[in-house]
Symmetry: C2
């Protein structure tokens, strides 16, 4: 946890280290055993929840900044991070009647009208998917809680973060047809049933059993192993694993999986 | 054309009307009779070309700003504009050794080191597709030329605009599988051959003849008319048209066409 002096310094002088007017918000999806969750934080002095976010250091690329934010909130680095949309409605901070002046008063830091955090901010949305059982959620210095919520049971979200979550989910689901996923959400060796369940959970709908895995195999992204897992007297399904080289290439270039 | 006083006022005081640190760049693709082009501008005092762009008024949403920029450069309004990516590499303006100080010196306007146009800028990329034969390219006040280039024969691009064009093309091609296109690039009534040629040109590759049109028909986006076009003694292909209501819905919601 940061001390109050650090909060004060960030509010008053942060513009020297960070680019003003632009922030990043991250929709961090968590998958584990057919459950899909979303990581949210609760800002101090505000009732509702929001996506974890932050500013961009003047020395960072956007994806470096997003990686740092995700790392700070989850303890997990090097996730596959994708931009989904940039949000710039002039009134986006004031949706749900958020009052900046009151918020700063509550922090105890006196700010002037031209403080860098008060002026209009445009926010770049990134999404990531990880295994929520491996994450260690941590609030940031402006927030008091950080935790996972079931995707079908989210609390009230502040600012324009309701729209952000909708857009992140939509983009993630469209991109499932164009990028491989699963590398950090499945065991190293897995069955077709396991990867099928992952796709069904992320898409939020029932699928033809063989659709995605079949395409992944056809593209050489998924390799059938000479190994089976014994899960019952007459049940020993084949194991599969990703071809990491082709997987990384497909993450970079994109493919069509549908 | 703007007068020099307007240029001076924009350079010195533009931050009052526009959000600093964030710009928009537009990849405007033009289609006509199986040709694909890209609209580029040539800035004053710089050799290379770049995408048309601009800043966001403090009262505008991002898509309103992008629409204004496209309208100002082409004379065409209400295009289907899609964000493709936001670019924020700290050195993006300095790729190709662009020298801001020299550039401002050339404009004749004396700027201080903390001028709003000199500090780091993050740029939001939008793409649009239109019929280039209907556009009327216009340079902006910072540029001297604005014209169409064949997509396969682009000149040297300034800043990070080479990467922007690559990403815009990639996103446009991926999104062809998820959004209907063609409304402003085909005659009101068209043949399957015409819409097929449009998809082939935009994708830059040969396609199974019936693939995209078949999906569009199955989704109700394309209606077969009780009308034929006579193009020869034994050739009179059926005419088709878009169902505008379903088309607009699909633009909003997205579909899978592949």
């Amino acid at each position: 946890m940061k001390t109050d002096d650090e909060v004060k310094d960030f509010i008053l002088n942060g513009y020297r280290e960070y680019v003003p007017h632009v922030s990043i918000d991250c929709a961090i999806f968590g998958y584990h055993e057919q459950q899909l969750k979303l990581l949210l934080i609760k800002l101090k002095f505000i009732d509702g929840w929001c996506l974890p976010g932050g500013y961009i250091k003047r020395t960072e690329t956007l994806v470096e900044a997003a990686n740092r934010i995700v790392m700070e909130r989850t303890g997990i680095g090097n996730l596959f991070l994708q931009q989904f949309k940039t949000f710039g409605d002039p009134n986006r901070a004031r949706i749900n009647e958020f009052d900046e002046e009151l918020w700063f008063k509550a922090t105890g830091v006196k700010v002037s009208k031209d403080n860098w955090l008060i002026d209009q901010t445009i926010s770049i949305g990134f999404y990531a998917i990880t295994d929520f059982s491996k994450a260690e959620p941590q609030p940031d210095m402006m927030s008091e809680k950080c935790k996972w919520f079931d995707i079908d049971n989210l609390p009230k979200l502040e600012f324009d973060h309701e729209e952000m979550v909708k857009e992140a989910l939509h983009t993630m689901r469209v991109q499932l047809y164009h990028y491989p996923i699963g590398y950090n959400m499945l065991p190293e060796k897995f069955t077709l049933t396991e990867i099928h369940a992952l796709y069904e959970t992320l898409l939020g709908k029932k699928l033809d059993i063989s659709n995605f895995p079949k395409k992944l195999i056809a593209l050489g992204l998924l390799k059938k192993l000479d190994e089976k897992r014994s899960i019952g007297p007459h049940r020993s399904p084949h194991l599969y694993m990703f071809d990491k080289e082709k997987y990384n290439m497909a993450i970079k270039e994109g493919v069509v999986l549908s």
